[in-house]
Amino acid sequence: METWQGWRFATAGGDPVFHDSGAACQWHHVGTPPPWSHSRLWPCCPGHSDLALLGCNNNSDSEAPGHSSDCSEDPTLSRLWNKETFDYLLGQLHSPAAKEMGLFLISGYNLFTEPVPDPSWKNIVLGFRNLTPKELELFPGYSYGWFNTALMLEGRSYLPWLTNRLTERGVKFFHKKVESFQELFAQGVDVVLNCSGIRAGHLQPDPELQPGRGQIIKVLAPWVKHFIITHNLKSGIYNSPYIIPGSEFTVLGGVYQHGNWSEENSAKDHKSIWDSCCQLLPPLQKAKIVGEWSGLRPARPSVRLERERIGLGNLQGEVIHNYGHGGFGITIHWGCAMAAARLLGSILQEKKQLATPPGPRL
């Protein structure tokens, strides 16, 4: 726990840094928006904690099945966080740190079976345009699509890089399971940043937080230089294939199972992903499979980013929640982090004001 002016902060959650398989498969659920809200259709931007494709947004107001369509978060917040994250990383692209961060530019395709309105993020990414008829010939079964250049941020490089930056600043890391906020308050922690992702329910029950189970196949296909993301608007759930090339491996995916807590690989899902991706990109038939992985996206109708005062008497403190990013965590992470930091700033400001000695009595 870092100390700052006598204050102790703890961040609960955040995957153990050298966790090989990374966090839950990240992408987000488009859902089937009711017709009146089709303007809020945000294309899914699948990724995996190993690699996450930035720029194309997230569905902050996802209408996941079983949930009300009541959006508890202003979609403009998500858009803002997306833009802040993309712009920040774009600024890092030419820095010497870029390679170590796992950051690079990549172009690719978003495919649809029918025309759709342009996404709100079209001006956040680079070079956004519609696909030409000749390009669509590459993708039989898809009649409409977008091309753009986005950013890739590979988790397996980014997390160690972040860890190094934090370590340089004196932040300490403890690999242990936190059972409650009170446990931390009892140790003298004043503020907890709750970034516990899919396990946030252990610290405080949250029925809105549900797993969005994903499965991916990792292959060697170094000739693939573009991401290809398909969208299936009709099915309502985007079990729709995607192909995302990283710096070493290419990730094949396209599974979203709401409410499924299983982290075991499913043979049925494997077949579905493999068959659909090979159909999408026939050269993949010759790709070598080097891994398979399942994860739980921490899905929520909206990201929980807010303060909360928890506990009583000696065992109380401030908690800043920052979880529920579904399949688009990396896409908006920096914007969220800054928002959380601002909340921390307000807490400190309030405490400072309270601690200021009263003026002289006249």
Partner: protein, 341 residues
């Protein structure tokens, strides 16, 4: 007349693709490839294999466009098939950037590549020294894979391939009925073509797998072309230089120029330096000729002088050369009939 025996001299991209086209247009022909070098030691192996045409001053534009279109169409189909990885053919997107306004706003090939459009302001911000740019998606043929794949397809047709230095086309008379000259730079000596000059190119092939987009300076001198396993960094255009030895100063210069376009290349590993001599000519020579010596005739089809644009037009010129071989065969059959009368 017995099945015509065709000798193709040269086993670079031009020789192999021409041989393959001949087996397709003339299945009854017996085709043999003769070359002093095969992959990975041909000029083609040094090239990045990007499909971005070079403009030949003396070849009519419509002809260059036709060759490029045929090549692009042919490779496009392979790139989206199960053979793509073996053939080393893949799509790649990127940018061509200019410091001063390009001569042509719309090059003749802009409607053949995919998604050609001017770069946006936001994209240009990545290149502070450049003020204009074009974005598009094109194809890349990685060598050696592409040449090895062509060789494999040739073998499947029964084509024989031999390492042999041909010093004079007449050596082949008697053994072969028709000779196809795809000797590239070798044609200078082989047929005494003084219009053919080497344009030396030095490149670096590096390991930088995070580079997914190509970047090319419109001056043609600096380029970054990501291939299947390696990224080709270039380059130079040294007219009249025959030197095949890498130059260390040039290596440093190429690396610096490429890093200024793409700073992350500072982290590139495993730098290999290669040199190739582009067989350059004002126009590509795709032409029939009948050599004559002491009353004896030798039909020859030339297909050389592709300079910096070999990959971009190879299939188109191969088809044209194969067609000319067909004409040679008809002529031979005609004269053989006449001889019987």
């Amino acid at each position: 007349m017995a099945p015509p025996k065709v000798a193709v001299v040269g086993a670079g991209v031009i020789g192999l693709s021409t041989a393959l086209c001949i087996t397709e247009t003339c299945p009854s022909c017996s085709v043999t490839v003769l070359s002093d070098q095969f992959s990975p030691n041909t000029t083609s192996d040094v090239a990045a294999g990007m499909l971005i045409p070079h403009t030949y001053p003396d070849t009519p534009t419509h002809r260059q466009k036709q060759w490029f279109k045929e090549t692009f169409t042919y490779l496009f189909a392979i790139s989206n098939s199960a053979e793509a990885s073996e053939a080393g053919i893949h799509l790649v997107s990127g940018w061509q950037v200019f410091k001063s306004p390009p001569k042509e706003e719309l090059p003749f090939w802009s409607d053949i590549v995919l998604g050609f459009r001017p770069m946006s302001e936001a994209e240009l911000q990545k290149f502070p020294q450049h003020r204009f740019g074009q974005a598009f998606t094109t194809l890349k043929c990685d060598c050696p894979p592409y040449l090895l794949w062509l060789e494999k397809r040739l073998e499947a047709t029964g084509t024989q391939m031999y390492t042999r230095k041909v010093a004079d086309l007449w050596e082949l008379h008697g053994e072969y009925d028709i000779v196809v000259n795809c000797a590239g730079m070798g044609a200078q000596q082989l047929v005494g073509d003084k219009q053919l000059i080497p344009v030396r190119g030095q490149v670096l092939k590096v390991h930088a797998p995070w580079v997914k987009l190509f970047i090319r300076d419109g001056d043609g001198l600096t380029y970054i072309y990501p291939g299947v396993h390696r990224v080709t960094l270039g380059g130079t255009r040294e007219k009249g230089s025959w030197s095949l030895s890498p130059d260390t100063g040039t290596t440093r210069d190429i690396f610096d120029r490429c890093c200024s376009l793409e700073p992350s290349l500072q982290g590139a590993q495993d730098i290999e330096v290669k040199v190739g001599l582009r067989p350059s000519r004002q126009c590509v020579r795709v032409q029939r000729e009948v050599l004559s010596q002491g009353g004896v005739k030798l039909p020859v089809v030339h297909n050389y002088g592709h300079g910096a644009g070999g990959f971009s037009v190879h299939w188109g010129t191969a088809k044209e050369a194969a067609h000319l071989v067909g004409e040679c065969i008809s002529a031979l059959q005609g004269s053989s009939l006449r001889a019987k009368l």
